[in-house]
């Protein structure tokens, strides 16, 4: 029972972050069919913002909000400056642009900060623990679950109740038709990038809180996780991204904890075997519809 509760909380906590990462990637993909390789760098931007703010007397929560907003601003700016000019050209041009943006941002961090890890401030509550069903559980994990679920609910209300949300869903389905009804292309695309960046920024707070540091290459793992989650869940669906995130997290947690010692080092091979098996039986991902 104790083991089960432990796995459940770890899985939900990691899954919540994976789900948000995947959602941030797929919201842009849904509209532009672009896998934004610079997505992980928005997490890096949030991290360095926290690092730069750490000497300031601001309360941690304010720093965290500023960091998340900076990720959203960076996402918005990359769309305006890098993606918009090549949008009409081709999808390949956009993909290459996203590689370029990713490399550029990483190199900027290398050059202007340092190739070495930098400490980011974490609040005291992140290192506290509580006992749940006999297990020592980090409060950070509980917070990650609560914040993510609240965000997912808020996001789904936005998508269903506001005209912008309805337009975003419509644009992910039939972009040209959405424009023919008067919804400006630039508006939905900007909105998608802002939401994407904001999700990355919020994930960053918890993701970086695990190690308490940021490096120029920090974005790679979140990008991969987000990508694999959307592939598992179905690239064409927002709910699929969320499902994929939780599935990937639970598979990971289960292998991390249950594989015997001598197989442990092959755990990624096991995880990807499961992913391949899922895709063999459901090539379009677990969630087929859009929504």
């Amino acid at each position: 029972m104790g083991d089960f509760t432990y796995l459940l909380i770890s899985g939900l906590s990691l899954g919540s972050l994976y789900a948000l990462m995947a959602l941030g990637l797929v919201i842009v993909y849904g509209i532009l069919r672009l896998v934004n390789f610079a997505y992980g760098e928005y997490i890096m931007v949030a991290g360095y913002t926290l690092f730069l703010l750490s000497p300031s007397p601001l309360p941690w929560l304010v720093m965290a909000v500023v960091a998340a907003v900076m990720a959203a601003v960076m996402s918005y700016l990359t769309e305006r400056i890098a993606f918009r000019p090549v949008r009409e050209k081709s999808l390949t041009a956009m993909l290459i642009t996203s590689f370029a943006v990713s490399t550029l941002l990483q190199n900027a961090a290398l050059l202007f900060v340092s190739p070495r890890a930098r400490v980011v401030p974490t609040p005291g509550i992140f290192s506290e623990t509580v006992i749940i069903a006999g297990n020592v559980t980090p409060v950070r994990e509980i917070l990650a679950i609560v914040v993510s679920v609240a965000l997912l609910i808020g996001f789904s209300i936005l998508l269903r109740k506001t005209i912008l949300g309805i337009a975003l869903r419509a644009a992910a389905d039939k972009f040209t038709m959405t424009r023919m009804l008067g919804v400006p292309a630039n508006l939905v695309i900007s909105a998608a990038f802002v939401i994407s960046g904001l999700l990355a920024g919020i994930v960053a707070i918890f993701w970086l809180g695990r190690t308490g540091s940021v490096t120029p290459g920090i974005g790679l793992t979140p990008l991969l996780v987000a990508f694999v989650s959307t592939v598992i869940g179905g690239m064409r669906s927002l709910s699929g991204a969320v499902v994929g995130g939780y599935v990937l997290a639970f598979v990971t947690i289960i292998f991390n904890n249950l594989l015997p010692g001598d197989l442990y080092e092959f755990r990624e091979a096991f995880i990807f075997t499961i992913v391949i098996l899922i895709l063999l039986f459901r090539p379009e991902g677990l969630v087929r519809g859009r929504g």
Binding site: I163, R169, T176, G182, V183
Partner: protein, 236 residues
């Protein structure tokens, strides 16, 4: 109201329109007929701003609109019901209609407009909160037209609204187009169903290989042209 002058359009190397000139006057129902691949859809897409013309003018209510984006064209008062309806299938019927009224946000007429659409298309009231993807073909066509009307267009362009519908539903669709026309709507109608569209049109154009081959009243057109070729080519 709408005037096309020497309009050229192409997809890469494939030329689809080679100098089309035509006119739609206020209150008219103009039919645009022609075989598969004649360029009818291309013509409507170009007017709607989905495609950029290669050359030539599009003038709507005295204003040049060639090359504007789709989101701008609809604000000028032109709505297109596209060939494959392009219903948002994961959105509810209501959400589809709400997006149709996107350019009329803040006018406070949304409720009245919805009531008007539900009167015109009673099935939409029944299916109001259902996903649009669950509607039958005929119902989806009604929703597509209702969605276009929600923007209060002054020119309504319909691309093959009867395509793929059961004969009984086709009757309904043509009856509806006639009714909209009687109520004063200006309509540019593209149809494979030549007989029926000529029967309700004020004037018609015959498009062939991207040019206007004949034009005039439906009677003129029936006389001038060997309609046989269109029927044979037109399929359906």
């Amino acid at each position: 109201m709408l005037r096309l002058d020497d309009l050229h359009a192409q997809y890469g190397a494939i030329v689809a329109l080679r100098g089309v000139s035509l006119e739609v006057n206020e209150g008219e129902l103009v039919a645009l007929v022609g075989v598969n691949g004649a360029g009818k859809t291309t013509l409507l897409s170009t007017v709607a701003g989905v495609m950029r013309p290669r050359r030539g003018d599009i003038v709507f209510e005295g204003e040049p609109i060639a090359g504007l984006t789709p989101e701008t064209v609809v604000r000028k008062g032109i709505a297109l019901v596209p060939e494959d309806r392009e219903i948002f299938s994961d959105l509810t019927v209501e959400e589809n209609l709400r997006l149709g009224a996107y350019i009329r946000r803040g006018r406070g007429e949304y409720g009245a407009d919805i009531d008007r659409m539900c009167e015109l298309f009673p099935i939409l009231r029944e299916r109001f909160r259902q996903d649009a993807g669950t509607l039958s073909g005929g119902e989806q066509q009604q929703l597509a037209i209702a969605r276009a009307l929600m923007s209060h267009p002054r020119l309504l362009m319909l691309d093959e609204p009867s395509l793929g519908l059961a004969p009984k539903i086709v009757d309904q669709v043509f009856a509806l187009i006639e009714q909209l026309h009687r109520d004063g709507m200006t309509i540019l109608l593209v149809e494979q169903n030549v007989t029926r569209s000529l029967a309700i049109a004020d004037r018609a154009y015959l498009l062939n290989m991207g040019t206007v081959q004949a034009s005039g009243t439906p009677a003129d057109l029936r006389q001038d042209v060997d309609m046989e070729s269109i029927y044979l080519g037109g399929g359906d």
